[in-house]
Each structure stands twice: as C-alpha cells, then as structure tokens.
Amino acid sequence: MVEIAAVAIDAETLSTREVNALIRSRLQGGATEIIVENPNARHNLAVALLQPGRVRFLGSVGYYCGGLMDGAEIHVQGSAGWGLAESMSHGSVVVHGGAGNGAAAAIRGGTVVIHGDAAARLGVSMKGGLVLVGGDCGYMAGFMGQKGTLVVCGNTGAAFADSMYATTCYVGGAIGNLGTDAVIETLTPEEAGMLNGLLAEHLPPAVRATKPAGRDFKKVVAGRKLWNFDKHNWKTWQDAL
C-alpha cells in the first residue's frame, strides 16, 4: 500500500460530523497527517479519535476538541474552547494559543500542552498524564487531581491544587493562593532537571527562552489531610466542603 503523507480537509462547507468522519476514514486509509482548514472555532472537532495519526487544525477550535481521544496527536494553530482533551486516555494535544475552562479535565494519560494561558479548572480530576501550560492558569486548577503532572510556567489563579490526591504540580510564577490541603514541598535537583527537560521538549525554543528555569519552579502536592476522614480534624473538612 502506498503511504499517503498529508491530507487536507476544508471544514468550511462540511458539518462537524462529516469532518470527524473524514478524519477517521483518512487515518484508517493510511494518512499520517490530516490538515483541517477553516475549523472556525467549531465545537466537538476530533472527539473520540481512537487511532494514531496527526491532526492539525489551521485555526481555533471550539469546545471538547480531542475529548475521549486515545492515541492520536492533535495540533491546534489557534486557541481552544472549553473541555479541551477532556477524559483523554493517550495521545497528545498541543494548542498554540490559549484554552478555555476545564482544559485536560479528567485525563487518564497523554500530554496536553497549551502555549498560551489556560482559563479556570485546568486539569481538574486528572488521573494521569502531563499538562503543561506556557502562560498563566485560572481559578481552581488541579482540583481533586488523582495522578499525573501539572506544570504551569506562569501564575495561577486562586484555590490552586485544591483537595488533591496524588497529582504533582509545578508552578513557575506566583500562586494566586493555595487550595485546601495543598502544600508546597521542596523541589529536588532531579525535579528541576526533569522540568528543564519537559519545557525543552514541549515548548518552541523562542517560547522556552521566556520561561523560568526548572530550579525556580515551586512544587505543590496534597498535604494528605483529606485522604482519610478524621473527626478530630473537623475544621479542615468544614473548610474543604
């Protein structure tokens, strides 16, 4: 079979259902890269993609792009709306601009990279994977995170890393304020090196150059006070609820 390198789809005159069906059939047909022109910030693009392959959107996407995905690689050359890559299993989503509320919420694995800012509820309830934001993030990022790594190069909004289980967060800028049971832990030299590696791998060199060095990040984890109910610790629970 002859390998088809890149295939272009013009979304302008197609329904979202047709665009998604075309992406799937072209990937199944052996294309390695699908280029979608004129996505026009439309919702539900590339949702539930279950095969490997690269999809590149030449413009902004709307809500839920890359949601429920398993194994594909999505590039958005614009910004993304709410629920980017929500509940993704594996794969990667890269957004060149900013992302709306609930980006990378409940992901189980894979990588979500946002070059710009993320809005509220970034990476809430994530169960694995890596979320890396080049800019700032909004209110309540990391809430109830269970596993995985959340990296924010810029500043965070209020209630950061609230009520977490075992997500590890790293913040390059200022923390708006820490959420319930979130604590700052000392960053090890190994972690600083790991962060330098992640930033070099996932951000373009020109963008990376403007971000803090790995050693300047703050590490935030759960204080584990909410992991098991303790009636003597009622005040903490009252505040959390």
């Binding site: 910004s79 900013g98 909004g138 209110y139 909004g157």
Partner: protein
Amino acid sequence: MCGILGYFRKHPGTDAQLGATMLNMLQALGRRGPDSAGVALVGPAHRAGCIVRVTAGGELEMTPQAIEANREAIQVFAASLHGASDLSSIGGYVRFVLNGDVDLLAFTQAIESIGEGIEVLSIGHAMELSKEVGTPHLLEGKHHISAFAGTHGIGHTRLCTESMVDLSHSQPFWGRGAADVAIVHNGHITNYHQLRRKYEQRGVRFMTENDSEVLAVYLAESLNRGETLRQGLDGVLRDMDGAYCCLAVTATEMGFVKDPYAFKPLVVAETDDFVAVATEEIAIRSALSGDYEVSEAQVEEVRVWSR
C-alpha cells in the same frame, strides 16, 4: 445557555458595518438561544434629544388589533408632545426623538400608562434597543439591524430557563431611568428574589420575572448615582450571587463582569481596531477576519473600554 456578545470599535467616528458585524456574531450564537434575539446599538448621539423606542405589545400575548390600537395611541401621544420629532414605526415598535430634558422614569411611566402591554424598550441620546421573540434572522427581517451605523453594541440570543418567553422578557434590558444604559446577561442571579424585594420596597417597578432585569436596575441606579461603569460592574461582583457573565453599554463605554466561579463562558479578542466579546469564539471568528488572539476571561474579571 444563552449567548451574549459585544463589539466595540476603537476608531473615532461611526462604523457603517457595526450592525452587520453584530448580526453575524448574533447568528453564530443562534444555536445557544433560539427563543429570542436582541441588540442594543450605540450610534451617533442626538445632541438635543433622546431617541425613545416603545413596543405596543408582544405578538404572543396580544391580538394584532390590540397592538395596532396601542401603536396608534403611542403615536398620538408622541405627536402631542412638545418637542417630539422623527416619529416612525416598524411593526409594533414606535420610535421618536424627544427634545429637551425630562425626568426619564416619569416620562416612561406616562407612556406605559397609555395602554396595557405598552413598554418603553430604551431611551438614549445614542443607544437604540431592538429585540424580538425568535431568531436573529427574524430580528434582522423586522428591524434591519445590519444597516445600523454606530460605534459599539451588545447582543443576546436567549434560551429561556426560568421565566417566560415573550418580548418583554427578552434581552437586552434597558437600564430603566438611565439614558443609554443596557445590559445582556448569560447565567442565573441566585439572590435575585432578595434583591428584587429590596428594590420593590423602595418603589422600583420591575417589568418581568427575568432575573437578568435586576442587573439592568442595579447598573442604572449605580450610574444615576454618578458611579462609573467600572464601579457599577465591580458592585455586581460584590452584590450578586450566582453564575453570570454580564455585558453592559453606555453612550461611550462597553464593559463586562464574570462571576467568581467562572461558571459561564466569555471570551475576549482585542486588536488596535476593535474589541469583541462573546460567549463562544465562533461568534468572533465568523464575524471578524484577521489575525488576532482570543482568550477566556478569568474569574471576577471586570473590563471596561471607553471612547
């Protein structure tokens, strides 16, 4: 759901494309609100007087004969006013220019007492409000908003969740008693009943059961007290509970406020030429070409642009 949008042109002078841009944005948000559509558009100011827009009644609740009788009565009333000019009507809407200073609330009540179903939709030197039950397409068909030349405006497509679907409950809402003030809102004001009771005890008259109306009442009062739009929107954060994004215009400004939990979406695009704000990016991209970034507003964010 509901969709809200705002467009503000930074260049001096009026933009002949304002109405067309607003219509394109409104149509892109049509899916979010099939119940009604409306705009508050700010045009060149009438220095001498105020543009008054009155509805003779909604088609859902009244017979065509009753609306026509009201319309004629409003026209007779307007023609009898000393200093009224430019009298015209489209469908159940009557529009005229009122010259000279009047007490806006007393004048509004005088017109509304002419007949059941009559409601003043807006009064302003520069701002005009049009809304209809139905789609943006229907709004355009009746009011030709695309032909409106001006500087800035806000719009709304409504998905009714609590109160009724009729013209009166549609948005935008005029800040009754304050010239050139209007709001659009997406969300729920959860302490609405408390606030409404407080206002009603002071004699403020509410026209609808729509919780968004309290935002218009609140901002009108704030601006009439001499506060700035920014102060008014900061006050919304202090005094309103719930999930909300609210956009507001005055004769020279446009601003928004987003609630403390970011429960409702609102994105912003700003260039050297314009500011566009909308519930979804799709509304901005479908109306405005060019290379610009769009970003989600943050919690408790208040922004105001002035001319």
